[in-house]
C-alpha cells in the first residue's frame, strides 16, 4: 500500500523536477502511440466505415477479422513484427529493429483493428434510412461514408480513444521490437516493467501515474467534447 503513495509522491516529485528520464519516456510514448493511432485513424476509420456500410461478399468475414484484431495479443504481434524486421526477416534491410518505427508498426497493428471494428459498429448504429436519404441527396459512396462518419463522430471518437488507450498502455509488442532503449525506445510502459523487474516499485508506480495522467487528460478532453455534442 505505502508503495502506491510513495509512487504518487515520486510521480509528483519527478514531474515537478521535470525529471529527464520521465520526460523522455513520456514523450516517446506519446510520439509512438500518437503516430500509431493517427495512422490507424487515417486508414482504419474509412475502412471501418466501408465495412460497416458495405454490402459486398466477405464483409462478415472481414468484420469478424477486425473484431478478432481487437484481441490481438501484443506479445504475438511483437514477435510477428520482430520476425519481419530482424536482419534475417523479409524487411531486414530496413534496420528497424529496436527503433521507434518498429514500435509504431507493432502498435499500428494493435490499434487499427480496434478502430476498424468499432468504427464499423459506429456507422451501423445510424438509422439505415439516413443512409438512403444521403444517397437520395446525390451522395457518392465516399460522400455517404464521410457524412455518416461525421454523424457518428461521438462513437468514432470513443473508438479512437480505445485504440489509443490500448497501444499507449501495451507493453509486450513495444518491448519486443523496440528493445526498451533508454532515451529512444524506452516508453512509459516498458519503463514501468523495467522498474518493476528491478524491484523499484515506487518508481514503477510513479511512471504508471504519469501514464494514467496523460490518458486521463486526453479522455477528459474528449469526454467533454463528446458530452458537449450530445443533444439535450
Amino acid at each position: 500500500m505505502e508503495l502506491i503513495f510513495e509512487g504518487l509522491r515520486e510521480a509528483v516529485a519527478r514531474i515537478l523536477t521535470l525529471d529527464r528520464d520521465l520526460l523522455e519516456a513520456a514523450s516517446a510514448s506519446l510520439v509512438t502511440s500518437g503516430s500509431a493511432t493517427s495512422l490507424s485513424v487515417v486508414t482504419g476509420v474509412p475502412l471501418g466505415a466501408a465495412l460497416g456500410l458495405g454490402r459486398f461478399r466477405g464483409r462478415g468475414l472481414l468484420l469478424a477479422l477486425a473484431n478478432t484484431g481487437m484481441g490481438l495479443p501484443p506479445v504475438a504481434v511483437g514477435l510477428f513484427v520482430a520476425v519481419f524486421i530482424w536482419r534475417s526477416g523479409p524487411a531486414g534491410q530496413l534496420e528497424w529493429f529496436c527503433t521507434r518505427q518498429a514500435i509504431i508498426t507493432a502498435q499500428y497493428l494493435l490499434a487499427a483493428p480496434t478502430i476498424v471494428g468499432l468504427t464499423a459498429v459506429a456507422v451501423q448504429s445510424i438509422d439505415p434510412m439516413m443512409r438512403l436519404q444521403l444517397t437520395a441527396l446525390g451522395a457518392t459512396r465516399l460522400q455517404s461514408i464521410a457524412l455518416l462518419m461525421r454523424e457518428s463522430r461521438l462513437l468514432i471518437l470513443t473508438a479512437v480513444m480505445a485504440g489509443f488507450g490500448a497501444v499507449i498502455s501495451e507493453i509486450g509488442a513495444s518491448l519486443m521490437v523496440g528493445c526498451n532503449i533508454k532515451g529512444d525506445t524506452r516508453i512509459l510502459t516498458t519503463a514501468i516493467a523495467l522498474e518493476t523487474s528491478k524491484g523499484e516499485f515506487g518508481a514503477a508506480f510513479a511512471l504508471a501515474f504519469v501514464l494514467l495522467g496523460i490518458i486521463f487528460a486526453l479522455n477528459a478532453l474528449t469526454t467533454w467534447a463528446q458530452q458537449r455534442a450530445r443533444p439535450q
Partner: protein, 360 residues
C-alpha cells in the same frame, strides 16, 4: 405537357424478402404533378423510393427515354423528401445546403439557394439552430427545403406536408404548386390528403395492397374508381348492387333494391348486375321532394348523423343504405335529425357503374 420523363415497366419492389409493390406500367409525364394515394402499408413509399432508384427493383425504369445506367447521375437530377425528415446532426443551414454541397456547388451559391428554400418554407429564422432541436413541423419543412434547394427535375415527396399546420399547408401547397409548375418540375407525391391530391396534382395513382390499381387525372379517379375497393378508398361510400333494367342512347335505367335509378354512365361490357357508385358529396338532401334538376329523388329515413369536421355524414335508409355528406351549415338550416324522413337526390350524370366481378 410534353413527353414521358420517367417510365416504369413490369416494376416490382421487394423488401425483407417479400414483394411489397408492383406496377405493370407507370409513365410519369414531364412537368406533371402525380399524386400517389393508398392505404397504410400499401406500398406507396416503396414505389416512390424505387422510382427514385433508392430501393432495388425488378423490371425496367427509363428516364427521358433511356435506362438509368448511372444512378448517381440520375439522383443528382432529382430530389427526394422522405416520409420522416432525416436531418443530420448539424445546423439547419447545413442540412438545407447538403444536396448542393454534395454536388460540389460553391459555398456562396449553396448558402444563397439554401436560404431561399428555407425562406420559402418559412424556416429561415431557424438557419443557425441545430437540426436536433427542431419541432416536428419545423424538421419537415427543413427536409422539404433541402429537397427544393437542389433544383431537381423530378421531385419525389413522401407525405411532405403531414406535420405542417393547416394555414401553412394551405398557403404552401398553393405556393409550391405555382413554383413547381412555373419551373416545369415534375412532382411525384405520396399523400393521404385527398384535398391536397386534388389541388396539387394533375393525375392521381391509387396503390392498394401492393398493386398500382388505377391512374388517371385527379377528378376522374375520384369520380370513377375502377373497382369497389378503390371506390371505397377514394371516398365513394355508396357502392350499391344494381340490375340493368333498360339501356337507351341517353340513359341507363337500373333497379336498386325497390327503386329505379337513371344514370348516364356506360354499363360495363356484358354485365347485367353492375355496381352503382355514388359519392356522398353528390347526394343532395332536401326536406321536400320539390322541383330539382336531379333526375333521381328517393325518400329515406335518417338513421345516423355523424359530424366529420365541418361536414355531416348522413346515413339514410332508402330501402338500401345511402350515405350523403352535407355541410354543417346545410344540416343546421335543414334542421336534420335522426328519424326524419327526407328526400335524397342525385343527378343522373354523377354516378358511375362498376363491373361487379372485376378482378381485384
Amino acid at each position: 405537357m410534353s413527353g414521358t420523363i420517367l417510365e416504369a415497366e413490369d416494376f416490382a419492389v421487394a423488401r425483407g424478402g417479400r414483394e411489397v409493390v408492383r406496377a405493370h406500367e407507370l409513365r410519369i409525364r414531364e412537368g406533371e404533378a402525380l399524386a400517389i394515394l393508398g392505404p397504410n402499408g400499401a406500398g406507396k413509399t416503396s414505389l416512390l423510393l424505387a422510382l427514385a432508384t433508392l430501393l432495388p427493383f425488378a423490371g425496367r425504369l427509363r428516364f427521358r427515354g433511356s435506362s438509368i445506367d448511372r444512378p448517381l447521375a440520375f439522383r443528382r437530377r432529382v430530389a427526394v423528401a422522405f416520409q420522416r425528415p432525416l436531418l443530420l446532426d448539424r445546423s439547419v443551414r447545413e442540412n438545407a445546403a447538403l444536396g448542393l454541397a454534395l454536388r460540389g456547388v460553391s459555398r456562396r451559391e449553396r448558402d444563397q439557394r439554401a436560404h431561399d428554400a428555407l425562406v420559402r418554407l418559412g424556416v429561415a429564422h431557424l438557419a443557425g439552430r441545430s437540426a436536433r432541436t427542431l419541432s416536428g413541423g419545423e424538421a419537415q419543412r427543413v427536409s422539404l427545403a433541402r429537397a427544393l434547394a437542389v433544383g431537381p427535375e423530378i421531385l419525389f415527396l413522401d407525405e411532405p406536408f403531414s406535420a405542417l399546420d393547416a394555414p401553412t399547408r394551405e398557403t404552401l401547397v398553393a405556393d409550391l404548386a405555382r413554383v413547381l409548375r412555373a419551373r416545369g418540375v415534375t412532382t411525384v407525391l405520396v399523400t393521404h390528403d385527398r384535398d391536397e391530391a386534388l389541388s396539387l396534382s394533375d393525375r392521381v395513382a391509387i396503390v392498394m395492397g401492393g398493386r398500382l390499381r388505377q391512374i388517371g387525372d385527379a377528378a376522374s379517379v375520384f369520380a370513377t374508381p375502377v373497382d369497389s375497393e378503390v371506390a371505397a378508398f377514394v371516398g365513394v361510400e355508396n357502392v350499391l348492387p344494381a340490375r340493368v333494367v333498360s339501356v337507351t342512347e341517353e340513359l341507363t335505367t337500373l333497379r336498386v333494391a325497390d327503386h329505379l335509378v337513371e344514370v348516364t354512365a356506360d354499363v360495363p361490357a356484358g354485365d347485367d348486375f353492375p355496381l352503382l357508385c355514388i359519392r356522398p358529396d353528390d347526394v343532395i338532401i332536401a326536406r321536400e321532394p320539390g322541383p330539382t334538376s336531379a333526375r333521381n329523388a328517393l325518400a329515406g329515413t335518417i338513421l345516423r348523423l355523424e359530424p366529420i369536421g365541418r361536414r355531416v355524414r348522413v346515413l339514410l335508409d332508402c330501402g338500401f343504405p345511402l350515405v350523403a355528406h352535407v355541410t354543417v351549415r346545410s344540416a343546421r338550416e335543414l334542421g336534420l335529425a335522426e328519424g326524419d324522413v327526407v328526400t335524397a337526390s342525385f343527378k343522373a350524370t354523377l354516378p358511375h357503374l362498376l363491373a361487379r366481378h372485376r378482378a381485384a
